[in-house]
C-alpha cells in the first residue's frame, strides 16, 4: 500500500470522475444506432419463422389426419371384403348342403 504512486492515483481519479455528456449527445447517439434494422430483425424474423413453422405443423396435421383417415377407410374396405367372402362362402355352403340333402333323399344325384 505504501508503494502506491500518487500520480497514478490522481490520474485514475480524474479519469473515472463522473462527467455530464455534452448537450445533444443522446440524440446523436440514437441517430447513429441502426435502430430500425434491429427492430425489424427482432420482430420480422420470428414472424416469418412462426409462419413457416405453423405451415409445416398444419401440413403435418392435415397429412397425418389424411393418412389416418385413409387407414381407417382401408381397414373398413378390408372388413367389407372379408364379410363379402364369408357370406359368399356360407351361401355356397348352404346350396351345397341342400343339394346333398336332396341327393340323399332321391338317391339319384339329380337336382330338380
Amino acid at each position: 500500500v505504501a508503494d502506491f504512486d500518487p500520480e497514478l492515483e490522481n490520474n485514475l481519479r480524474d479519469g473515472l470522475r463522473l462527467r455530464q455528456p455534452s448537450e445533444g449527445f443522446a440524440d446523436r447517439l440514437m441517430t447513429r444506432l441502426p435502430q430500425h434494422e434491429t427492430r425489424r430483425r427482432v420482430i420480422a424474423w420470428p414472424q416469418w419463422k412462426m409462419a413457416v413453422a405453423a405451415s409445416v405443423l398444419a401440413a403435418a396435421a392435415v397429412g397425418g389426419y389424411a393418412a389416418h383417415h385413409r387407414q381407417v377407410e382401408g381397414e373398413r374396405a378390408r372388413e367389407q371384403v372379408l364379410l363379402a367372402l364369408r357370406i359368399t362362402h356360407s351361401t355356397l355352403d348352404a346350396v351345397q348342403q341342400k343339394i346333398s340333402t336332396q341327393q340323399d333323399q332321391t338317391g339319384t344325384g339329380e337336382v330338380q
Binding site: 387407414q71 377407410e73 382401408g74 381397414e75 374396405a77 378390408r78 367389407q80 371384403v81 372379408l82 364379410l83 363379402a84 367372402l85 364369408r86 357370406i87 359368399t88 362362402h89 356360407s90 351361401t91 355356397l92 355352403d93 348352404a94 346350396v95 351345397q96 348342403q97 341342400k98 343339394i99 336332396q102 339329380e110 337336382v111 330338380q112
Partner: protein
Amino acid sequence: MMKRIFLSLFLLLFAAPAFAQAPPFPVTLEKQLAERASNYTEVTLDRRMLDFASKFMNKEQDAEGKRIIEKLNGIYVRTYEFDKPGQYTAADLENVRRQFQGSEWVPMVKQRSKNANDDSDIYMKMVNGEVQGMFILNAEEKELNFVFISGPIRPEDLSDISGNFGIPKGKYSKEAKGKTEKDGAQAAKNSGSGKSEDEQ
C-alpha cells in the same frame, strides 16, 4: 380448342359414370326386401374398392382372399333375414334371376321349391370358355341371399379361403373340386343348348 376442352370435361363428368358397372340387383326390390327384413346386409364392392381394400390386406390370413379379389371386377352381396316366412315371393326371385339371363349365363344349379322358399341357383358367366362371373341365390323360409361376383372366379377358388376369416374348413374342399370342375365343364358344354346337367 376450348370446345374440345369443354367436350372432354363434359364426357369426364357425365359420360364416365355411365360406363361404371350398374348395381346387379333390382334397386326397388332391394329396398322392399330391406324394409321387410329384420336384418339385412348389403355389400357393394366395385373394382376401385377391391383395389383399395387389397392394399390393406397384408395379414397372413388375408393372402388367399387378396389373391382372389385381385382378379375380380366386383363383389355384390345381399342377405335378408325375416321374422316370419312369406316375406318374399317367387316373382321377387324371378326379378333377381332376370338380371343373370342371356347366352353367357350358364345355370350350374337350379333348384326350385313349391313356394319358392327353398330355391337355389348357381349361375356361371362363361366368356370364351372362361368363367367371368358367378351368381348365387339361396332362398330359405326366413332368409334370402344373393351373391354376384364379377370377374374370373370358380366355386373351388373359395375353398382356399376355408379356415380364414372365420370360415370353417369344409364343403368346398379339394375333394369336391374335381366334381365341380366336371360339372362346370359339362355346364359349359351344354350352354349352347341353354340347359345344364342339373336341369336335364
